[in-house]
Subunit: 276 residues, 2 copies
């Protein structure tokens, strides 16, 4: 099943929602999970499809998700409330729920993004560059690095910087950073909805820190999509600078093969104390 199919939504035909909402039906597909919890980027992409459909705008410009509860596979509804429909941007909230329980709450602004490589008559400044990565064939897939790779690692085609996969064999680099190549299997076109998946597909940066942290559940994720990606690989870099007060942030950048900045992301995650 393709990413496009796994994130598809249909306008709700079941019980009508309150009149200020538009309801969509979705299926959280098996295999897109890590230990039973659907990947946050995958769930966000699914919700973004409902928002894009309701707002009749193709591209998420800025989108924020609050992950309220773990999302297991199975049917779910997405209720969209339009907030503003302007010329440049249209904004809405969306709630993914099951059996009346809210699982993810989203706030997004959608519009029309410039395809990567198209020059627009606007001020431009790049004070950064794509992360330096070895060629794809010298990078490492999770399937070859981990002893028991997740099924999720078959849903995406990712090759990691060799320096950043030491955690998989018990040798973390000491730097809370993850860098690598990203695309969908069979080079399925990503589009800007797929960029949301890429923004939360890399392993937790903290796995490479020399800290007693076994997992880091995401509280909130915001993605700014800056351009429609060109075909081919994305290069991603995700980094944590501060682990304080039981929380950490992860800052991400995604670049396409034309060296265009495709997205920036930031999330805040909890740092549970390890169980003794």
């Amino acid at each position: 099943m393709s990413f496009a199919e796994a994130t598809s939504v249909t306008r709700g035909t079941t019980a009508p929602p309150p009149s200020h909402l538009e309801r969509f039906d979705a299926t959280i597909t098996e295999g897109w999970d890590i230990l039973g919890n659907a990947n946050g980027g995958y769930v966000l992409a699914t919700i973004a499809r409902a928002l894009s459909t309701a707002l009749e705008r193709p591209d998420p410009i800025t989108i924020t998700a609050h992950y309220l509860r773990p999302v297991s596979s199975g049917p779910a509804v997405i209720d969209v409330e339009k907030v503003r429909e302007g010329r440049t941007l249209a904004s809405a909230t969306a709630r993914l729920s099951r059996d009346g329980i809210a699982l993810v709450e989203v706030l997004g602004a959608f519009g029309d993004l410039v395809p990567s490589g198209v020059v627009v008559d606007a001020p431009r400044l790049l004070r950064g560059a794509p992360p330096p990565l070895p060629p794809v064939e010298e990078c490492v897939s999770m399937r070859s690095a981990a002893e028991s790779p997740t099924q999720f690692s078959t849903k995406v085609d990712m090759r990691f910087h060799p320096e950043d996969l030491g955690f998989a064999t018990g040798n973390p680099s000491g730097i809370p950073r993850m860098r690598g190549w990203f695309r969908l299997p069979d080079d399925e076109p990503l589009g800007t909805i797929g960029v949301l998946l890429a923004a939360d597909a890399f392993p937790p940066t903290v796995f490479n820190a020399s800290l007693p942290v076994a997992w880091a559940p995401t509280v909130e994720l915001t993605v700014h999509v800056r351009a429609r990606p060109a075909r081919g690989w994305l290069r991603g870099t995700f980094e944590t600078r501060f682990v304080t007060g039981g929380r950490l942030e992860v800052d991400g950048e995604l670049w396409d093969e034309t060296d265009e900045l495709v997205a920036q992301s930031r999330q805040i995650a909890l740092v549970p104390r390890p169980t003794p």
Copy 2:
């Protein structure tokens, strides 16, 4: 009028909202505006007071605002919808509107933050430090730097790095960055709600870029509050790395006098082409 008074809200006593909402009345106070539009941090702080009251949690942990329309001074209502009330975090949406028109939409998670300086038994990592600033008395207030300072500059006590105020006299530094000291007049306690004001109080970074950009209206602002600030000055640094496709991001950090990271912020703003 203090910041606390200017951001106060009361539970609504006027027309009842739909039953799934809690309504608060607020007044957008004159003088907190830039050219007639209320400062985004001030508006966010006001909305955060309503969220904090409804959720009965003191501190915003992560909060995202979408600025839909300019906010002028005068009365407004804030409708809060609780989404989840958990042990560690409680989440809700809030909409500030006037005459039935949504002006700002917010999604926030609230909880109890650790006061700055209190050591918690949790992993800790700092890969950054407060911005290097000259002493307060060697930094420059907007009132002394600008020919026609805004009334907003009297609502906050800010002293800027001398290198970053060149734009006020037509000599931008060339680096899209703003650094300086921040507190409220008369050293009014900031609290975590005041941190939201500080996260959007600095002049636009892009004023220091050598780009034809006269203003940059904020589309979205997310603030992660990381600790309750100690009394005294905050040090803030705000920086833009990418101006692409008619948008730019601003990344901010706020540190308190005990060298604790108090907040990280990121916003995406439009870069309108200058009018010829």
